[in-house]
């Protein structure tokens, strides 16, 4: 944006308003570079070094090439490649929570925005479903731990009613521990997703719904032919942010299983694994290699989801533009 102003002596002075734009976005980029970009490169750099602590003595940093990566992908004593197991754990637990999260959030978003239902007390319901997100994840997890522990009320009630055996431990069973973690993530996040999806739906022109109804479309058709395609950009955004959050899952399983990822590491997530290298040995090398792996996983999954889900939408947008041009 340049504008020329003629000075009194007749010369031209150009005034650029673009600089204000740069100034306003500069703080973000500065913060991003200092606190995200540089650390990212440092992580990559660190992953090539042997660098840890033995007691209060520092070992390294010594350059070891790709040794940390080799170590990361070599099987443990039981023949399991742990990093892959933990990746799978993370994805399973995320999916267990994310599928109901998106289905329920979508349903609620449609109910709340429907001009036919006109649900009363929306503000109240929206606040209530958002509430679990306001609690600190660790506190929420502690609450569940107390409820489902061997000495907790739920365990007690279920034993009293003969539903489970007295020796049944929710945290030693793969299915229950993973389900509990997924349930917590679901409870914490479905409200948030509902709000974002609602905003997305409200951004769609109401007349489209009306005309579809007049044309005889039933609610299901309206949803699949009108609402969902137009909601796609917001939906993809929600899905990708939820996925990134899911891959970084840490506090809920950490607190629930006291950092053990019991049973047999089947509820241990990637970030919990990362944390175990940051115990007393402060192993920057291994933690760096693992972080790079998590970055690659997140990046490629994000890219894949984005490509798959937004490709049809992009096509239709292009077609839409072309048709407009035809008319002219």
């Amino acid at each position: 944006m340049e504008k020329q102003i003629r000075r009194k002596d007749g010369s031209l002075k150009s005034v650029s308003y673009a600089k204000w734009g740069f100034i306003f976005i500069a703080p973000f980029f500065l913060v991003y570079i200092v606190f995200t970009l540089i650390p990212q490169f440092l992580t990559l750099y660190n992953s090539f070094f042997e660098n840890y602590r033995d007691g209060l003595k520092q070992i390294g940093p010594n350059f070891v090439g790709l040794d940390n990566y080799k170590e990361l992908f070599s099987p443990d004593g039981n023949g399991t490649i742990l990093v892959l197991r933990y990746t799978l754990n993370t994805l399973i637990m995320w999916l267990l929570g994310a599928i109901p999260q998106f289905v329920i959030a979508m349903l609620l978003a449609i109910f709340f925005t429907s001009y036919r239902l006109k649900i009363k007390g929306q503000g109240f319901f929206k606040s209530v479903i958002y509430m679990p997100n306001l609690i600190m994840a660790a506190a929420f997890s502690m609450l569940f731990f107390t409820l489902f522990d061997m000495t907790g009320p739920i365990h007690y009630v279920l034993v009293e009613n003969g539903i489970i055996d007295a020796s049944f431990d929710f945290f030693s069973n793969r299915v229950t521990v993973r389900s509990l973690i997924a349930l917590m993530n679901f409870l914490m996040w479905f409200g948030n997703t509902t709000i974002v999806l609602m905003a997305g739906i409200m951004g769609i022109d109401q007349s489209l719904f009306e005309s579809a109804t007049i044309d005889g479309a039933n609610p299901v058709q309206v949803f699949f032919r009108v609402t969902f395609p137009l909601l796609m950009p917001i939906f993809v955004y929600c899905l990708i942010t939820a996925m990134i959050g899911g891959i970084q899952m840490y506090d809920v399983p950490q607190v629930l299983t006291k950092g053990n990822g019991s049973p047999n590491g089947l509820s241990k997530t990637l970030v919990m694994y990362l944390n175990s290298y940051f115990g007393p040995s402060k192993n920057y090398g291994m933690a760096g290699a693992l972080s790079v792996y998590i970055f690659v996983i997140t990046g490629s999954l994000g890219f894949f989801v984005y490509k798959r889900l937004s490709a049809p939408y992009k096509d239709s947008a292009r077609k839409h533009r072309r048709r407009k041009g035809d008319v002219i």
Partner: protein, 435 residues
């Protein structure tokens, strides 16, 4: 444009200066500091400190408390110690607490200082092992312990009466003075519907503190002492036979067994165990104060202990000396620790006084038995040997990984391999047995 950036940067710098100002700039080097920083992992010693030590006027005491679980305390402490040289006088750690399981790591480093450098002398009344634990490989002592931790079997009298037909300490001791006898009593208890212990790890310390070799050998290779394997065998049997529970040693499931309606006969612990682990037994409504006695049990051992270490760089050396003296040589304070706090102090003179005193008895939790007399006998045998800096997390890790086996989620082999993997992740320097 440039001007604006300059102004922005200046503003940011100004803000950060204002932000830091509160944290106290460097003070002129005074004789003694005005701020005394103590690192600890719980409130136990803080309570005694606040009751029995008078802080010199004008000195502020800061407690920095981080939980011990998963090594959090050690990590926070390490960070602070490594930064000790750069910290301002009032920010420096003056004193920190350390447990038996990792005290060596700090004693054998430059981050702790010789107690004689500020005029403290170890007294004859202190237990030798407490001095040895706080001394580095050259014998330089870096701190003191305010307690001595001989540990015993703490049994429920009513259950012992039911199972053994007697609740008199001498007679109970005679029936459980070897592990074979202890196992036999466990079977008897089971028949009567009781548990022998309430946690698979309850007897761990009785074995592990009698080890004849450390967790790692000279080449930092992980090794299992016969005592550790004996514990593993015993526990496996106890779980299989239903003599004990699968709860961890700190779990609520275990401590709930100390209520009046608990079904467990024996607990293993030293004097600090009363206040620290047995609050359920002291519960006004559901507790069972007075239904307890202590005996030596199958094997004498000690458990834990809290040492006070002097941090290098402290500017409050007078106060350090004063604190050390208060909690070791001050007989008045040591007596109060016994009478009011159920502690077993690190002062043989005070201990003897109570051990011989017929009128003394512990009624806070026991039936009036003179527990000091029992502990005094046990304390004579405590030796400080075969410790490594890795003990805390190796002990914890072994228990956690085996617990999964006892709960039935993995087989024993997998549990052991998970333990090796845990060791590898936790301590990069330790070599674990080959697959």
């Amino acid at each position: 444009m440039k001007k604006l950036i300059v102004i922005l940067l200046a503003a940011v710098m100004l803000l950060s200066i204002v932000g830091c100002a509160g944290q106290g700039g460097t003070q002129p080097a005074a004789e003694q500091g005005k701020v005394f920083n103590i690192y600890a992992w719980n409130e136990e010693f803080k309570g005694f400190f606040e009751k029995y030590y008078t802080v010199p006027e004008g000195v502020t005491v800061n407690w920095i408390i981080n939980p011990s679980d998963n090594g959090v305390y050690q990590q926070k402490l390490d960070e602070a110690l490594l930064n000790q040289a750069n910290a301002s006088a009032d920010e420096k750690i003056d004193m920190f607490l350390a447990e038996a399981d990792y005290i060596g790591k700090y004693v054998d480093s430059e981050y702790t200082m010789d107690v004689t450098s500020f005029g403290f002398k170890n007294a004859d009344t202190m237990y030798d092992y407490t001095i040895k634990a706080a001394s580095d490989s050259n014998g330089v002592c870096k701190g003191v312990s305010f307690q001595c931790c001989p540990a015993a079997v703490i049994y429920r009298k009513s259950i012992a009466k039911d199972v053994l037909g007697t609740d008199v300490p001498e007679e109970v001791q005679a029936q459980i003075d070897t592990w074979e006898k202890f196992d036999a009593v466990a079977a008897q208890a089971k028949e009567k519907g009781y548990y022998m212990t309430a946690s698979f790890a309850e007897t761990f310390r009785a074995f592990s503190n009698n080890c004849t070799m450390p967790w790692v050998d000279k080449d930092n290779k992980l090794q299992f002492d016969p005592q550790i394997t004996a514990w593993m065998d015993q526990t496996e049997k106890y779980i299989a036979n239903g003599y004990t529970l699968t709860a961890g040693v700190w779990d609520a499931e275990k401590t709930n067994q100390m209520f009046k309606d608990g079904k467990t006969m024996c607990f293993f612990g030293p004097a600090w165990y009363y206040n620290f682990c047995m609050t359920n037994a002291q519960d006004k409504e559901n507790g069972c104060v007075g239904d307890w006695c202590i005996v030596k049990g199958p094997q004498a051992y000690f458990w834990g202990g809290t040492w006070l270490l002097a941090a290098t760089g402290s500017d409050n050396t007078d106060m350090l000396k004063d604190i050390f003296e208060t909690f070791t040589t001050n007989e008045d304070v040591c007596s109060k620790l016994v009478e009011n706090e159920n502690q077993y102090p690190n002062n043989t003179k005070v201990v003897e006084k109570y051990a011989k005193d017929e009128s003394y008895g512990n009624t806070a939790i026991l039936d009036g038995q003179n527990d000091i007399a029992v502990f005094a006998e046990l304390a004579k045998d405590i030796k400080w040997e075969n410790h490594t800096n890795y003990d805390q997390l190796l002990n914890e890790g072994l228990q956690n990984k085996l617990q999964e086996f006892y709960k039935g989620s993995v087989d024993k082999e997998t549990a052991m391999k998970n333990f090796y993997q845990y060791v590898k992740e936790t301590y990069a320097t330790i070599t674990v047995p080959e697959n």
